[in-house]
């Protein structure tokens, strides 16, 4: 049997040994700490080092869409519990807790919106809702977003922050980043244009599983937006402050089709 190599992941910013979690407003990139209002004012991008903190779905919509242009659709949909699923706690309890902490009925928010006066459909995932996991209702909502966009002939802009979202024709996709280490961001990428925020993790298989399965030493930027760009999977890496303008530019180009 061949010698086995050490497969432990090296965390540059490992969580403290005692298990205490770093404060969510402490930058994992440079250690700077911010008040909520400071971070919000900077679009939740670290003013010191440019680290992109995660953005909740509602906040993301506020950042992207024109003021008061967002009209939510299918907000009434809730997951049920067809299997009577029970792990450490009942599934229904987890759902209720997620709804309580995020204020959302599911891990995806969809609705009509305008960006720079250009109409579009938004489908934004919420990583805070059970890790942005895609269940029946997320699938249903995404399908409804596609249909709503197709019916009105407007582009679909989806912001994903987790795995499994299957992108369809005629959409712009935007990859945001689930920051929690070890979470796999998988993304079936059929968007006409794929943008990613700096440092976003997009890989079919997460680094830990890849390393443990293949026993290869992984490059530092494995699965990051930057490496995906190099390997031809992402059209452009767009820092959050430029995102709205970039999306608007693309919407303008795509809306011109019939002209």
């Amino acid at each position: 049997m061949s010698e086995r190599i050490d497969v432990s992941i090296e965390h540059r910013h490992a969580p403290p040994e005692d298990g205490a979690r770093p404060h969510p407003n402490t930058c994992p990139g440079c250690g700077s700490h911010y008040r909520d209002d400071e971070l919000d004012a900077a679009l939740r991008v670290c003013p010191q080092c440019g680290h992109h903190f995660p953005v909740h779905a509602r906040e993301r919509i506020r950042q992207l869409a024109d003021e008061d242009s967002f009209s939510e659709e299918a907000s009434e949909l809730r997951s049920d519990d067809p299997l009577g699923f029970f792990d450490l706690r009942p599934y229904t309890e987890r759902l209720a807790e997620a709804e309580l902490t995020t204020g959302l009925g599911e891990a995806m928010v969809i609705g009509r919106a305008a960006v720079d006066d250009l109409p579009c459909e938004l489908a934004v995932m919420e990583f805070g809702f059970m890790g942005g996991s895609m269940g029946r209702i997320v699938g249903e909502k995404f399908a409804r977003a596609c249909e709503s966009a197709a019916e009105r002939g407007v582009p679909l802009v989806s912001v994903t922050a987790s795995g499994g979202a299957r992108m369809q024709e005629g959409i712009l996709s935007l990859m945001a980043h689930p920051t929690t280490a070890g979470v796999l961001a998988s993304f079936a990428s059929l968007g006409d244009v794929i943008l990613a925020e700096p440092g976003a993790l997009l890989s079919f298989t997460g680094p830990r599983v890849v390393q443990q399965t293949t026993r290869e030493k992984l490059p530092d930027d494995f699965g990051r937006a930057e490496s995906n760009y190099r390997y031809g999977h992402v059209d452009e890496i767009v820092p959050r402050p430029e995102l709205r303008a970039t999306v608007a530019r693309l919407l303008r180009l795509f809306s011109n089709a019939a002209a």
Binding site: E169, R230, G232, H233, V234, E236, R249, L253, N256, A257
Partner: protein, 314 residues
């Protein structure tokens, strides 16, 4: 196309221009002069020296490249990166932009200006990844009904080991095949070197233009000389023999029109070169307004089927 026909067409263009009310003002005068010059050139067969001058001008290090035209001709340019499979080939750029009021998809070969950029862009020689990216862009254009503009300037597809391992030949073939199938108008212009299969991969268009001093070849003059004369130094003779210049390509029916360049070549006045190229591209696209996708495909097939047709079947 026999020379006579090309001449007739130019004469036709000239008389049309003359009869136009002076909408475009002084610019039209320049246009007339240029057409007149072209006509004189067609009537007078280009000499071997003139052909070689084209080769040199086509390769001039200061000649405008794709991105030089992009910044002058397109608004809202958004470059797309990557073939969504293996890599992003910097030798072939693709993107979305607005050209004269409509969204288009652009494909273009791109060389570098300094040593660093030349290396990064592999001297403009595309890998299969580049053709993969071009195909993705053409599919996007097809899906959304955007016309495709292709600016061709490639010494040849990259002839390296990795390129072979990644399937260079197949990539070029599939790119041509896709370009023959798309249901949107396509216009290609050779703006420098049109090097063989690597060029045709993105030049199988409804309308193929060529700048006055560009060349369109089956092989580089040096390569041809090395094979046939067994001496790459005989490139001048080779070029004179296979006549890669715009006027000869027009006569042969390989291209549809010649785009004039400013006096001295495109590099002497890139702004003017871009204006002339823009006008030619714009006029070409207008030709296909209102034609259905299926009809475009049919006409495209006829166009390429009849190039170099045997006289017995013509």
């Amino acid at each position: 196309m026999p020379p006579r026909e090309a001449e007739l067409r130019l004469r036709g263009q000239l008389s049309r221009l003359r009869s136009l009310p002076l909408l475009r003002g002084a610019r039209l005068e320049g246009e007339l002069e240029r057409l007149q010059r072209q006509l004189e050139k067609i009537v007078a067969e280009p000499s071997d020296e003139e052909i070689w001058r084209s080769v040199e001008l086509a390769r001039n290090a200061d000649r405008p490249y794709t991105l030089d035209y992009v910044e002058r001709l397109f608004d809202d340019w958004f470059e797309l990166h990557g073939d969504r499979a293996h890599g992003d080939d910097a030798a072939l750029v693709v993107g979305l932009g607005r050209f004269r009021g409509r969204t288009i998809v652009l494909l273009g070969n791109q060389k570098g200006r300094d040593v660093k950029e030349r290396t990064r862009r592999n001297f403009g020689m595309a890998y299969p990844e580049g053709y993969g990216k071009a195909m993705r862009a053409m599919e996007l254009a097809d899906r959304h009904g955007f016309p495709v503009i292709s600016l061709v300037d490639i010494p040849g597809a990259y002839p390296g080991v990795t390129a072979e391992q990644h399937g260079q030949g197949g990539a070029i073939a599939r790119s041509q095949s896709l370009m023959a199938r798309v249901r949107v108008p396509t216009v290609a212009c050779i703006i420098g070197e049109g090097g063989s299969g690597g060029a045709i991969a993105t030049a199988l268009a409804d309308r193929v233009l060529m700048q006055e001093n560009a060349i369109y070849t089956v092989i580089s003059p040096e390569g041809c000389a090395a094979i046939l004369w067994r001496d790459a130094g005989e490139a001048k003779k080779a070029a004179a023999a296979f006549k890669p210049d715009a006027m000869h390509c027009l006569e042969l029916g390989v291209i549809d029109a010649v785009v004039p360049e400013p006096e001295g070549g495109a590099h002497s006045d890139p702004d003017e070169a871009a204006r002339l190229l823009g006008d030619a591209l714009g006029e070409s696209l207008e030709l296909f307004d209102g034609i259905s996708g299926d009809e475009l495909r049919r006409q495209r097939r006829v166009r390429f089927r009849t190039i170099g047709q045997l006289s017995t079947t013509a």
